[in-house]
């Protein structure tokens, strides 16, 4: 392995969780997400070998990942068939607010479905900010959108996510 490739892995492997999380929310199946991460890293490596040295590796990888999604995966991706595997229930009670309590037992597959029901721009904005941890300014650069637009998308996305997920839970409990 060349020094350059070694350097690439040293700089980019710590960002893999971030890329994987982005890939997971841009594809419907685990295997597709892993393929997307591999494709992202391959493209990044090619770019690295052409002497591209980004200042912010996380944002660079996220941008490549989204470009791959736009170019390759959009054609193949489907909205998730309602057969997502049930994932372990979550407990993120953060206080004694009734809404927090109501959200406390939501399962991941319901959240995943709710996320996929958001318009693409909102879903990507929520994923980049809330799951990948980018700031609104970084997200604006990655998605090439004004920061105000990103803030608006994130807010609408979060609200829709909360409402859809809570409704599903209420419906589930009632039936």
């Amino acid at each position: 392995m060349t020094t350059s490739d070694f350097d690439f892995l040293q700089r980019t492997l710590p960002c893999m969780d971030l890329v994987y999380n982005l890939a997971r929310r841009c594809t419907t199946h685990h295997q597709d997400a892993e393929d997307l991460v591999q494709e992202t890293y391959l493209r990044a490596l090619k770019s690295w070998r052409s002497h591209r040295r980004p200042d912010k590796v996380e944002a660079w990888l996220a941008t490549i990942c989204l470009n791959v999604v736009r170019s390759d995966y959009r054609r193949r991706s489907r909205r998730p068939a309602e057969q997502l595997q049930a994932e372990a229930g979550l407990d993120f009670r953060s206080g004694d607010h009734t809404e927090d309590t109501a959200l406390g037992s939501i399962d991941k597959s319901a959240v995943h479905r709710a996320l996929w029901e958001l318009p693409d721009e909102q879903r990507i904005a929520v994923v980049l900010v809330d799951i990948c941890g980018f700031t609104s300014s970084e997200t604006a650069r990655i998605t090439r959108s004004p920061r105000g637009t990103v803030l608006s998308r994130v807010h609408r996305g979060r609200k829709a996510l909360a409402e859809t997920t809570t409704l599903r839970q209420v419906y589930k409990h009632e039936t």
Partner: protein, 223 residues
Amino acid sequence: MSDRKSEQFEAHLLTCADCWHEVTRARGGRAIGESLRELAPQSLREDIRATAQSESSSSGRFQLRWLAAAVVAVTLTAIAGTALLRPGHGDRSMVQQPESIAQAIIDFQNGRIPAERPVERDAPDLAGIGFTVSGAGSGEVGNVEVDGFTYQDQAGRRLQLYVSRRPFPEAAGAEMILDGPGSPWMASSQGIGLLCAQKPFPLLALSEDPDVLQELSTYLSVS
């Protein structure tokens, strides 16, 4: 948001049920989103590492095969050139070039520069003639140690610039720009133009467009 605006906003939230509801909903949505964070599988990490390694070695094998083929091709071309062309006539691109010049031409044709180590010096700034750096690397071209830089302008014209501590050999068919020893020269080989000069630093530039080399020559005041 300034502290004052923030305080005003918080005060408003306490008294406005609609806004309070809005913020609470968004906070809930954020918690839901954050809950989806996952760790990448360890196997994926290993796959990426393995892929990078295999890409690296296959690329190396490819380069070796390509280099061997190129050496054979250059040798055959040189033999054919020697046998078929009379000196001073015909296509000068068929004439055998010194090793470093031949290698520089091959690298230019393949859009490559040496990448054995980081460059020792900054890329010469050619923004004045509309070129921006697209790559940099250091290593050997033929037997000359160089820092190599690739440039491109908005029209997509490419320029490759090698900077060295040692002078470059003279290309076959070179035409001197000035009289006397150490004169900058220009040459053309296989459809690629070359410009070589000792000032302001020993450099060798390659481009498919002769105008680019003329502009560079004037811009760097090589003569």
